[in-house]
Symmetry: C2
Subunit: 376 residues, 2 copies
């Protein structure tokens, strides 16, 4: 097993200290209790000014680097980026990553127990927004006695959170790294998310969200994941990875059960996902992404950008058709028009939306320069 | 109601005259009976040398133009292209269109009665190929006493059939029009089809294909159609058509049931599709598309193209990402290398793969020139 130098990391869980009314969401609804799961890589320095908050994407979690046990064979989802000497250099920085509100990996979400009923929330869970996720992260920082962030960084839905941080808490965030992301999803992105939700909700085992304690809507969730996977790859990377090869060797295609490699790959990805992800979280988190609209929340793109005091690094990826470069450029132009400190690069990569998870070396160079360089 | 000049057309059905062994498929399996539904627009001339065979796409049918009754509010799927003075000019040509083998609109398919059992085939129906579809069309022409085709024409899966005609029956086809198509689907296209099939097969009402006489797998089929629809549109056309507008007017997004316009549009398309399409046909026809590989069937692209004696017009559409221009060009280059008479154009259109159904005026000019011009 190829151990990274971070080694074993321990997950932490904290219950946020809340006012009597509970945690008030953007919708006006409240949560009586919010538990947050997070991990920490590296140590805070004495001035506590070396903290980087990493923000995970839709299907990610707090386990961004290292191994949770000696038995684990795969390191955290951004292990290539976080560690001694890596882009998020744990010799210098203290890197934190927490599971988002609405998630299913230790932070309060639709699968958590509703203290009012003693049973899982299911669809009684309130709609949560990217803003709500960021508010929870802010409270977590308070619990951890952190008042300034050296940087926030994330890709995809994590990039939305990074962007939201710079607008919502301009005095807290010094730098923000926004990868493969957007200030608002386009119509096609919303449509794919809607298909995923429909696939889940069409599964009789979904049962209006009340499946905890019984079998989950595994088939619906698997179909949703299959759709998602196609959108995370590029046509070119699928061609390179699978082409038109048959699973059972050539020639195939004249029996009903013959499968192309790409079919069995997707089916496998779908099944695997069911073991680690909650179908209701799929619904709530895709809704949070769909509803995210930075300009709309802050009275327009210009007023939103006016608030920003962080330096920003925005990266897009040439073959990403789910969060295409033009959407990153929209953010970059808006920041530039507001006179903000923003750098942009489109990384040439065949890996589609997944590039921010895979192109460690290309993006590390840019991120290291951004993190170690002077702020304007 | 905007009646086209073709007016009411009557569907025809013929049972093919078959040898004692039945209709032998590419797989070696046989069908004891093949019924074909077709429609005819315009009349054959005395020499019967003015026949154009139009080939429908995946979810199309034999009803390409005119109205089937005075009550019908929507004309056939290519009504803009077929009629007096139109691209396929019924004053000059006799245009035929038949439902494909494996379909569900009058031609033998998985929903047809298996003469051996007296019940619908379901999954006992053999896998059919694009080549099998073309063989059935050829037999239909024989039944109708047609030995030469002035042209074959189709988009998407219809384009695959047109291409197959030129290679399989080079002496029969004088001209072929291949729109938004390919000689083989790419990995991404196969993946989307696999998702659709999985959605259907995940629906408990699918019941291994045995649902005839009971409720069909409506939810699975609707999800499949939703995925399909996204791939037929372009990101740009979705942006123009739906943007980020909410169904219930603005602002929305903080209640669980809020929907974007694009969500309700897709849901509506999904539901509507269930009324007119058979889920098993969805499975068989997507498999036929996936398995189609012209080069593989004919010992390579060069040997395949060597056989061609038709003139070809190949059109692609700039925003079509499901059957992208590069795939049309592959066919065009292969034909050109073989010294064949081929014209190519990429039509600038925002409508994605659906362009061949929508860009009637742009493509009509090119098609009219091709049909009325001299063969080389």
């Amino acid at each position: 097993m190829n151990r990274t130098s971070i080694g074993i990391v321990e997950p932490h869980q904290v219950s946020l200290t809340l006012p009597p009314e509970g945690f008030v969401l953007e919708s006006g609804r409240t949560l009586p209790e919010v538990v947050v799961q997070y991990e920490q890589y590296g140590e805070p320095n004495e001035r506590r000014d070396n903290i980087i908050l990493v923000l995970h994407a839709f299907s990610g979690d707090a386990h961004a680097a290292g191994f949770q046990s000696a038995q684990e064979t795969r390191a955290g989802w951004w292990d290539d980026m976080i560690g001694p000497g890596k882009a998020f250099d744990t010799d210098r920085f203290c890197v934190l990553c927490s599971n988002v509100l609405g998630g299913c990996q230790g932070t309060t979400g639709p699968g958590s127990t509703n203290p009012a009923t003693g049973t899982p929330y299911g669809l009684d869970f309130p709609v949560v927004t990217i803003g709500d996720m960021v508010e929870v992260q802010r409270r977590l920082m308070e619990e951890l006695d952190i008042t300034r962030l050296y940087a926030v960084a994330g890709g995809s839905m994590g990039g939305m959170q990074a962007l939201e941080w710079t607008v919502r808490f301009p005095d807290v965030v010094e730098r923000a790294i926004v990868l493969a992301s957007t200030s608002r999803l386009n119509s096609q992105g919303i449509a794919f998310n809607a298909v995923g939700r429909n696939a889940i909700m069409s599964d009789p085992q979904w049962n209006d969200g009340n499946y905890y304690g019984g079998p989950p809507p595994a088939q619906g969730l698997a179909v949703a994941r299959m759709v998602g996977h196609i959108t995370y790859l590029s046509s070119e990377s699928m061609r390179q990875k699978f082409g038109r090869r048959f699973q059972s060797g050539r020639p195939g295609g004249l029996a009903f059960d013959d499968q192309f490699e790409v079919e069995s790959y997707l089916a496998y990805q779908g099944e695997k996902f069911v073991d680690r992800f909650d179908a209701n979280s799929y619904i709530y988190l895709t809704k949070a992404m769909d509803y995210y609209d930075l300009a709309e929340s802050w009275g327009g793109m210009a007023p939103a950008m006016e608030r920003v005091r962080s330096a920003l690094l925005v990266l897009s990826y040439s073959s990403d058709w789910l969060f295409p470069t033009e959407q990153s450029k929209e953010v970059v132009y808006a920041l530039a028009r507001a006179g903000k400190d923003v750098s942009f690069n489109e990384i040439q990569s065949p890996y589609g939306h997944d590039s921010f998870l895979l192109e460690a070396s290309l993006q590390s160079e840019l991120i290291t320069a951004f993190l170690t360089g002077k702020k304007r």
